[in-house]
């Protein structure tokens, strides 16, 4: 004796109550869309930590990130055993035509940057062709821009970019030598990099930088090297604070305070709303199907089949809604793009993990929402169910 689930009833019910089904799926779709959005914001906030290099150290002033260090410390750091390359970044600020044109600008040392991040490194986190790297290195007034930034302002190789300094006073003009893309999620594609030497000459050779980045030999103990670097400058007027890249990036995430937790709570509330929508629909369905359930039982369908039929309806409706919401998010953010978000999160991308999380969550919402009415119908006595018929 077979004990199949009458699946034809599942699809017949969905078709018959299509308006209710559509509204419920749309409610779940909206909730999952918002969940995808919030989850991606959290992922973006934490991506710098997640993808940070494990064998890379950041050295800043022990006083504050906003206090510069002498460029000459470069040699000292490079001399520590286990350090294979050192480069430095200097926050520039400045204005491009108008104050509202905000994007990050850093003065860097192109040859060492290439060794740490570029085509001469193992990780190749900044993707730029060799001719573009060489052009950048050789042109003291050259710069490279990220692909997102190039799209935003229409920059292309050969263009001139004027900047007015504020932290570093002066009028600057750069030639675009290349447009880079990222080889790692932690690289921001909306940043501009230019020669530190050009900056240094313009401001009268102050010879200071914001941070040093030290690439380590993975064989060496990063903790020991951290201590050795800071020990080098312990007694000088330029005391340093060295930490791993992950810890450094985490300090930026910490600046957001409890924002990720808050977003998580909002996501949970949205999810709960979706669950209530689905549960309400499933309970209404259960009320409508009480008599039909009596007929099915009278015909010989077992309680297990009744349970599976009804719990499956919740899963199907929520999964369709959830997949639609996740797909809408993926399509809008990954293919169309949203300018408002792009200013805060230049690489706002729905990851495969987030997509799978959203669809998986909608399956669970459907399962949980479907269980209660399914149990009610599976346990109802045949004569009680039939007594309501008509």
């Amino acid at each position: 004796m077979k004990q199949p689930v009458p699946w034809r009833l599942l699809f017949a019910h969905l078709r018959r109550s299509w308006f209710r089904t559509t509204l419920t799926a749309a409610g779940v779709a909206l909730a999952i869309f918002l969940l995808v959005l919030l989850q991606t914001v959290i992922t973006e906030l934490q991506s710098g930590v997640k993808y940070a290099g494990r064998s890379r150290l950041i050295t800043t002033s022990a006083v504050s990130l906003f206090v510069n260090l002498p460029e000459k410390l470069h040699q000292g750091i490079e001399g520590v055993p286990g350090v294979v390359a050192v480069t430095h970044w200097t926050w520039f600020g400045g204005v491009y035509i108008d104050d509202k044109n905000m994007f990050a600008r850093f003065a860097v040392d192109p040859p060492t940057m290439r060794r740490v991040y570029g085509d001469l490194s193992a990780k190749k986190e900044i993707v730029l062709s060799t001719p573009e790297w060489e052009a950048f290195e050789s042109d003291r007034r050259g710069c490279i821009v990220g692909a997102a930034l190039a799209r935003q302002f229409g920059f292309k190789v050969g263009d001139r970019i004027p900047l007015k300094g504020n932290i570093w006073p002066g009028d600057y003009e750069f030639t675009v030598c290349g447009v880079y893309s990222r080889g790692s999620p932690q690289i921001d594609e909306s940043t501009m990099f230019f020669h530190w030497k050009y900056l240094d000459e313009t401001v009268g050779r102050r010879s200071v930088v914001s941070i040093f980045v030290a690439e380590l030999d993975p064989e060496f103990d990063a903790g020991r090297i951290t201590n050795e670097i800071d020990a080098l400058f312990e007694s000088s007027e330029n005391r340093t604070r060295t930490q791993t890249e992950a810890a450094f990036n985490q300090s930026f995430v910490s600046m957001w305070g409890n924002v990720p937790a808050l977003l998580g709570m909002i996501g949970g509330a949205v999810l709960f709303a979706a669950f209530m929508i689905a549960l309400n629909t499933m309970l209404l369905n259960a009320r409508d199907r009480r008599s039909e359930t009596g007929v099915l039982k009278a015909l010989g369908y077992p309680d297990r089949a009744i349970f599976l039929l009804n719990v499956s309806e919740g899963i199907v409706v929520c999964t369709i809604g959830g997949a639609a919401g996740a797909f809408a998010g993926w399509f809008i953010f990954n293919h169309i793009g949203v300018d408002a978000l792009g200013r805060f999160f230049p690489s706002f991308i729905i990851t495969d993990e987030t997509f799978a999380f959203a669809v998986g969550t909608s399956v669970i919402v459907g399962l949980v929402a479907g269980i209660v009415p399914a149990v009610i119908l599976a346990r109802i006595r045949v004569i009680d169910a039939l007594s309501r018929f008509g």
Partner: protein
Amino acid sequence: MLIQVRGVVKSYVKGSETVLVLDGVDLDVDAGEWVSLMGPSGSGKTTLLNLIGGLDVPDSGSICVNDDEMVGRTNAELAAWRSRNVGYIFQLYNLLPVLDAFQNVEMPLLLTNLSRKERREHVMTALDLVGLSDRIDHYPAQLSGGQNQRVAIARAIVADPAFLLADEPTGDLDRKSAEDVLNLLQDLHTRFKKAIVMVTHDPHCAERADRLVHLEKGVIVADT
């Protein structure tokens, strides 16, 4: 003996009150026999029908079908037994409104090991017997009351059950449709020797049966 009911007692709790519906009922139904259960409302005839069909369980007593005891079986066992042995015909047809006539009639066969082709043959035979082979894709809402009841009869007989249970099968029909349904039941009874236990209020309807059993206040008062 097809059905043997012995000393069946059944009561229901209504609020704080316990209502005794059947009080030690004995009933035998032979294979191929058509029995009508009559009696006033609340006499226990539908309850007895439900107990015979395994839709409910008695407080005490014994119900044997083909020498198999029904009392004491689990819900799952009773469900499996119903699907093999019982064909139900309800007063309000109880067709599934989201399925067409063919699909409604096919529902009991989904519990069997028949192939799709075999199921189709069985369904078409049953619908042909009730004269509705040209309405297979009609939904219940598109059929008249008499046609719906005939679809319900087709569903009841499609799996070739041991007996049919009919609870006021003509109660919701006009005189002409009621007569058609009774003729159909008579035909099934005569041609296929199906045992039928039928609850009815209508003496004209009850006359079609081989036997008339009269219940009052939960006991059989006449068996003719």
